[in-house]
């Protein structure tokens, strides 16, 4: 599988309190869409369309998305309205936007796509699910390309849920920084089956239980044994995570460069997609031109699973 283009938007919440870095979307969305759609639906639809535009593709042969919890602010807004208006006079637009495949449906309408179109909502396993789904379609000769996208949205109630769920200093963090940087993130990729000059190849992708450390290490070591120029893009959030969860997985005595992405991108269910975007950026950066051959994205998603995605310069 070859990544032809990518486009992303993200927002880190804690501690940066940054807003989405939202571009002017009027080149691809009309005024009503910009006004009516919630921030994540709007951002995801725009990112999907922008990704297609960058790849110079009018309409993809498949549209597959993954999200941990969907457009949560629409869900919360509708719940709040149910309470406020005592189950009367509710706005159906908010209900529609809370549906997990609304982003897919809107992209399909905007690019006149009548092809395979689905939404995986399987929390930490979404990246693996979406790539498996597209790869299966490639293998069976059903499609030659596909737009894949990941979006997750952070709200204040999420903070309450995460804290209550035990994703706090006792299990996830650190001596020096007691908070995870929760984030909203949107990442889209246009992928095709056949090689194109300049494309980045997805050599493999794996999903492990977090307890399968020996297996993960064996897999990563097998890669570095055959490839001389491997760099690692790791999803650790801080020193504690790096030392306890990531460093033990890397081949002993490695000399490779290691990059860290969660201090910048934050944590969410589909954060591995942010790692892929980070790696794509490094491949495409002028200063790295031709110097990086392989990048391994290593990401522990909360305390649920470990994802490994191996990317290489296809040229």
């Amino acid at each position: 599988m070859y990544v032809i283009s990518q486009y992303h938007l993200w927002r880190s919440i804690k501690p940066a309190q940054e807003a989405y870095i939202l571009p002017d979307m009027s080149d691809l969305l009309d005024k009503n869409e910009i006004r009516r759609l919630g921030v994540t639906v709007r951002g995801a639809v725009y990112s999907g369309l922008k990704c297609l535009q960058i790849a110079s593709v009018q309409s993809p042969e498949a549209i597959i998305t993954g999200t941990g919890k969907g457009c949560v602010s629409s869900i919360e807004k509708f719940q709040e309205d149910i309470i406020t208006y005592k189950e009367t006079a509710l706005n159906p637009s908010i209900f529609i936007q809370s549906t997990h495949n609304t982003v897919n449906g809107l992209i399909a309408i905007k690019c006149d796509s009548e092809v395979y179109n689905t939404a995986h909502v399987n929390y930490d396993q979404c990246i693996f699910n979406v790539l498996t789904d597209l790869e299966t379609h490639f293998e069976q000769g059903k499609v030659e390309n596909g737009l894949i996208g990941f979006f997750d949205e952070y709200t204040p109630f999420d903070d309450v849920l995460y804290e209550a769920g035990g994703f706090n200093s006792s299990t996830m963090v650190t001596d020096d920084d007691k908070s995870i940087i929760w984030s909203s993130a949107i990442n889209f990729f246009f992928i095709q089956k056949k090689y194109l000059p300049g494309a980045i190849s997805i050599l493999s992708y794996e999903l492990y239980r977090i307890t399968e450390t020996a297996k993960i290490k064996e897999f990563i070591t097998s890669l570095s044994g055959t490839k001389n120029e491997v760099e690692y893009v790791c999803g650790d959030n801080n020193t504690y995570e790096w030392e306890n969860f990531y460093l033990p997985l890397l081949p002993d005595g490695i000399n490779s460069k290691v990059h860290h992405f969660k201090h910048k991108w934050g944590e969410c269910a589909t954060s591995t997609a942010s790692g892929i975007s980070e790696a794509m950026g490094k491949f495409q950066s002028e200063s790295n031109s031709d110097s990086i051959q392989y990048q391994v994205v290593l990401n522990r998603v909360l305390d649920l699973s470990f994802e490994v995605v191996v990317l290489s310069r296809a040229d």
């Binding site: 719940q79 495949n101 809107l106 395979y116 689905t118 498996t132 309450v160 804290e163």
Partner: protein, 403 residues
């Protein structure tokens, strides 16, 4: 035969029964499970007609292996009841269970609990328990079932509104065909919640009287709740462990009609393409199909579009029915429910009538079956259509062939 995908176990629970026997008994009696809404904290209690399972969460827990597990919600109870029935029927050993990948379809997941927790948070800044906090996303059902049953760690959850469980089934079959897995547990679950009832009411397509699928005077749907799952495996895998097929998955397709975010194309273009492509995938002609288990929600637009599409594919006299008059519209679970009901029908070589129909719709002049009948051909075509323009059709067959 070696490339065939066999269905070796089924499980179902809905307002017409907590298992296959109860469901079959109510289908044969042509007894609807629609009642006035009872268990939710909603203004629609005793007002809305729904397909509700008439057991409280505590009562349902008695049927579930999650009875004493903290934080469990109604969706997980229902999924567990239907999944265990399917897995038991498939007769899998614990070693074989390790190879089963679950593909689930759901839209609500833990919504019944999330809406309570969110209201408590808004009113009093109350923090949910740690168990509840980890059970709000759609993937929590897979995580719980995988761990409890010892299934394969890798799973999938589809959420494409009302076509979610059909997407789980179609994708399960695709994974089996690709050789990536040898055995899947595919289906879906959704429960009634204040969120969905108010959502569909805001769209003005919820009926406060029993639904009338395909009737000229239909005024909307009745929501329902339920779960249904199929154990699907390659013929070689099933044969190797001495199992026979209850039904065979012949083919299916998932497409998008790219027309409107909630409405169907008025000429049924999306439904038409889904049915045509599914027939191609199954290598069958329209004349090979015995009956069509329609989506048939009883909303004005959906039934008109589906009816017109049925006419384009099957001509003036297709044998078709919607079973929403029995179970209500169980949203994400509806495609899997249709599949299990059709397989129960295959075993009796029967189909059951479309409840609530009286007057032919002039838009297509098609009449669904109003009396139970005998299956004469082995193949049943199943439709599910969802918001976002998502259209799915798949075909299952009786392994015993024609009468």
């Amino acid at each position: 035969m070696q490339n065939e995908i066999w269905i070796t176990g089924i499980g179902i629970c809905s307002s017409i029964g907590l298992n296959q026997d109860e469901t079959l008994s109510n289908l044969e009696a042509e007894k609807s499970g629609l009642t006035l809404l009872n268990h939710l904290n909603s203004r629609f209690v005793n007002e809305a007609i729904v397909g509700e399972i008439l057991l409280s969460d505590n009562e349902l827990a008695d049927y579930s292996v999650f009875k004493n597990t903290p934080g469990v919600h109604r969706s997980l109870f229902l999924a567990d009841i239907a999944c265990r029935e399917a897995l038991n029927q498939a007769g899998l050993s614990s070693l074989e269970m390790n190879e089963v990948m679950i593909l689930n379809g759901t839209t609500t997941a833990g919504m019944t609990e999330t809406e309570k927790e969110y209201e408590a948070f808004l009113r009093n800044h109350t923090t949910p328990s740690s168990y509840r906090a980890r059970m709000v996303d759609c993937g929590c059902i897979n995580r719980s079932l995988t761990e409890k049953y010892g299934l394969k760690f890798h799973s999938m959850t589809f959420s494409t509104a009302c076509s979610s469980s059909s997407n789980a089934i179609i994708n399960g079959a695709n994974l089996l065909r690709s050789g990536k897995v040898t055995r899947v547990l595919a289906g879906g679950v959704d429960t009634l919640s204040r969120f969905t009832i108010n959502g569909f009411n805001s769209l003005k397509n919820m009926s406060l009287s029993p639904c009338k699928p395909f009737d000229k005077d239909r005024i909307g749907l009745n929501l329902g709740e339920g779960a249904a799952y199929l154990v699907m495996e390659t013929a070689s895998s099933a044969s190797a462990r001495g199992r026979e097929a209850m039904a065979i998955y012949r083919g299916g397709i998932s497409t998008n009609e790219s027309f409107h975010i909630t409405g169907s194309h008025p000429e049924g273009d999306g439904a038409y393409h889904a049915m045509k492509l599914a027939l191609e995938d199954a290598d069958l002609d329209p004349a090979d199909i015995d009956n069509i288990h329609a989506h048939g929600t009883a909303t004005f637009d959906n039934d008109q579009a589906e009816g017109i599409a049925l006419k384009k594919v099957f001509g003036d006299h297709p044998t078709f029915m919607s079973t929403k008059g029995y179970t209500g519209h169980t949203l994400a679970a509806s495609g899997a429910l249709n599949a299990v009901i059709s397989i129960l029908g295959m075993q009796k070589r029967k189909y059951w009538p479309n409840l609530g129909f009286e007057v032919i719709d002039p838009a297509h002049r098609l009449m669904p079956v109003v009396r139970s009948g005998d299956m004469k051909k082995p193949h049943v075509l199943i439709n599910s259509f969802g918001f976002g323009g998502n259209n799915t059709t798949f075909i299952i067959s009786n392994p015993s062939g024609c009468m």
